[in-house]
Amino acid sequence: MGASPKRAAGGAGSKKAPPAAQDAAEDCLGLYRTMVLIRHFEESMRRLAAAGETPGLVHLCSGQEATNVGVILALREGDYIASHHRGHGHCIAKGAPIDLLAAEILGKAPGICGGRSGSMHVVDLPRGNLGTNGIVGGGIPLAAGAALAARARGTGEIAVCFFGDGALNQGLLHECMNMAAIWSLPVVFVCENNGYGEFTAMEDVTAGESVQARGEVFGIPSVTVDGMNVRAVRAATLAAAQRARIGEGPSFIVCNTWRYGGHHAGDKQDYKDDEETKRWEAADPLITFAKTLVDEKRASRDELAAIEAEVVARVKAAVAFARAAPQPAIETLEAHVHG
């Protein structure tokens, strides 16, 4: 059997990244608040899915908050992102109002896309979000293309594409990395490696000793970071974004992370090993960052609890709004197929 890439729980993998320090511009409570918001939003969606209130499939990102927030809060307004099927956290970090996002996931009229698209197809272009995506790897060329547009215009935006370890084996990724490299496009490739593509372990279907080598082969500066550590993710993104902004082209960031809820809401996760689950849960991005903030005396436990209470209230209100919202009017069925 050939070698396959390894992931360490709560760590960067075989290549040890330097410990991430706080940078001058870091809004540490903002990072914390956004991660907590995503967690509570996702857990609310899990309950709604279990109750049968969410049409279709819902893929939750609880456990991956540090990769969502560490990357997106390092960007500027106007920058683009392209997300994937596990994309609620990306939408929230990019500024989507959670009441409208919840309404979209429930297929309700006030949803971001009029309730017609749902969890996997949220396109939120006014906020630079090229969309969550139902096709594995589908967002990769969209982000690279937005970067191409920015370069052609000379307007200075950059683009980030998020994808999971499942997309590592899509040819599209390799095509786009090659083009981004030859054209020095301002794009950052971010692999949120949560260890499983649907129900299959990443190692079982992914050849080679390292994931980041898949960027290095194109000459793209590539790094592996602890995807449970929001500061590590943020630091890597700031470096990559800086390279993109000054015309030095693409970067590749591999974030080792963990999805608590399995592939989709309701996944029983029989394929996971209990010990492995315990190791990753001990590295929970919210718990570890809360401890860091308290240890560094940036916030007290009480202040963090107050943030969480405020977030819980916001999510509760958003869910109530979405549940009470009307269904799309039947005459909108065929709207917006063509202009």
Partner: protein, 324 residues
């Protein structure tokens, strides 16, 4: 004598004019830049507009076309060239799952204003993997617009309209028409997509023809006229949106319709148009709507077999006689 242009140069003039007028128009494709296109169909654009707007892509149709979609969502108007229509299959996920659905998925807030131009056509010995036309496949996908120009002047105005359109437009160019000349039309003339034209008036039968079939229909109509049968030729120009009103108006006058295409007959565009006429003009028909298409096989390269694939003027005339 007024100026004439070739089909190839009609499209090229449209690209020059639109790229000059709108800096958001960019061109992407294999060998479209410094090489000027494998059919010389993009000659001079690279020199005029530079490498940031005339972009030679690697042979990565899926990724490169996906990037054109992303660029379109981010405000550009890309024209993406797929050298041979058969290679469109490599772009299918991007075309069907991304480009076609973005406007609908975003509830109208995002658009994909791009043109995918590609060549097609049996007849140059190019064989099974370099001859096919996928306009029928594409027309089945909600969210795409489909243009099949029949002559040089139309190719120019329709390409300009396609570039200015805010939806993804597929522009199918029959290579057999590339060198054909037509009268040039006014540089500023544009045409909204979805408006067909009557090319030859006639009282006895409506011949619905797109692309190269327009020429075939003309030859058949001349032969039929010698027998006293006056055929009307209608070129819809666009399959989506389809000028149903023009087609129905013609059929209600002639009471007969023959629909033809140079792509395989089975489940093709002729079936859709014939069904539409049957549903909406049944009471005016004096004969069942007839169809002609290519044989349902891949395109052979052999000089004895290849000419048998597509409808000929003789087959068209014979089909009309059978309806009278």
């Amino acid at each position: 004598m007024a100026e004439t242009i070739t089909f190839r140069d009609g499209v090229l003039e449209a690209l020059f004019e639109e790229m000059r007028a709108d800096p958001s128009v960019i061109l992407m494709g294999e060998d479209v830049g410094a090489a000027g296109g494998v059919f010389q169909q993009t000659k001079g654009l690279f020199e005029a507009f530079g490498a940031r707007r005339v972009i030679d892509t690697p042979i990565s149709e899926s990724g490169a076309f996906g990037m054109a979609i992303g660029a379109a969502m981010a405000g550009m108007r890309p024209v993406f060239e797929v050298m041979f229509g058969d290679f469109m299959t490599l772009c299918m996920d991007q075309l069907v799952n991304q480009a076609a659905k973005v406007r609908y998925m975003s509830n109208g807030a995002a658009t994909v204003p791009l043109v995918l131009r590609t060549t097609m056509g049996v007849g140059a010995g190019l064989g099974p993997q370099h001859s096919q036309g996928f306009h029928a496949w594409a027309a089945h996908v909600p969210g795409l617009k489909i243009v099949v120009p029949a002559d040089a002047a139309d190719a120019k105005v329709l390409m300009k309209a396609a570039i200015r359109d805010d939806d993804p437009v597929l522009f199918f160019e029959d290579r057999q028409l590339y060198a054909a000349r037509a009268m040039a039309r006014d540089a500023d003339e544009t045409l909204p997509l979805g408006r067909g034209r009557i090319l030859r008036p006639g009282r006895d039968v409506t011949l619905v023809a797109i692309g190269r079939m327009v020429g075939v229909a003309r030859a058949a109509a001349e032969a039929l006229a010698r027998e006293g049968i006056e055929a009307e030729i209608v070129d819809p120009r666009c399959l989506v949106p389809l000028d149903e009103a023009l087609l129905l108006e013609s059929v209600r006058r002639t009471h007969r319709a023959l629909v033809m295409d140079a792509a395989p007959l089975r489940y093709g565009v002729t079936a859709e148009i014939a069904a539409m006429i049957g549903e909406k003009a049944f009471d005016w028909l004096d004969a069942p709507v007839a169809r002609l298409g290519a044989v349902d096989t891949p395109a052979p390269i052999s000089r004895s077999l290849e000419p048998l694939v597509c409808p000929t003027p003789e087959k068209v005339a014979a089909a009309v006689r059978a309806m009278m």
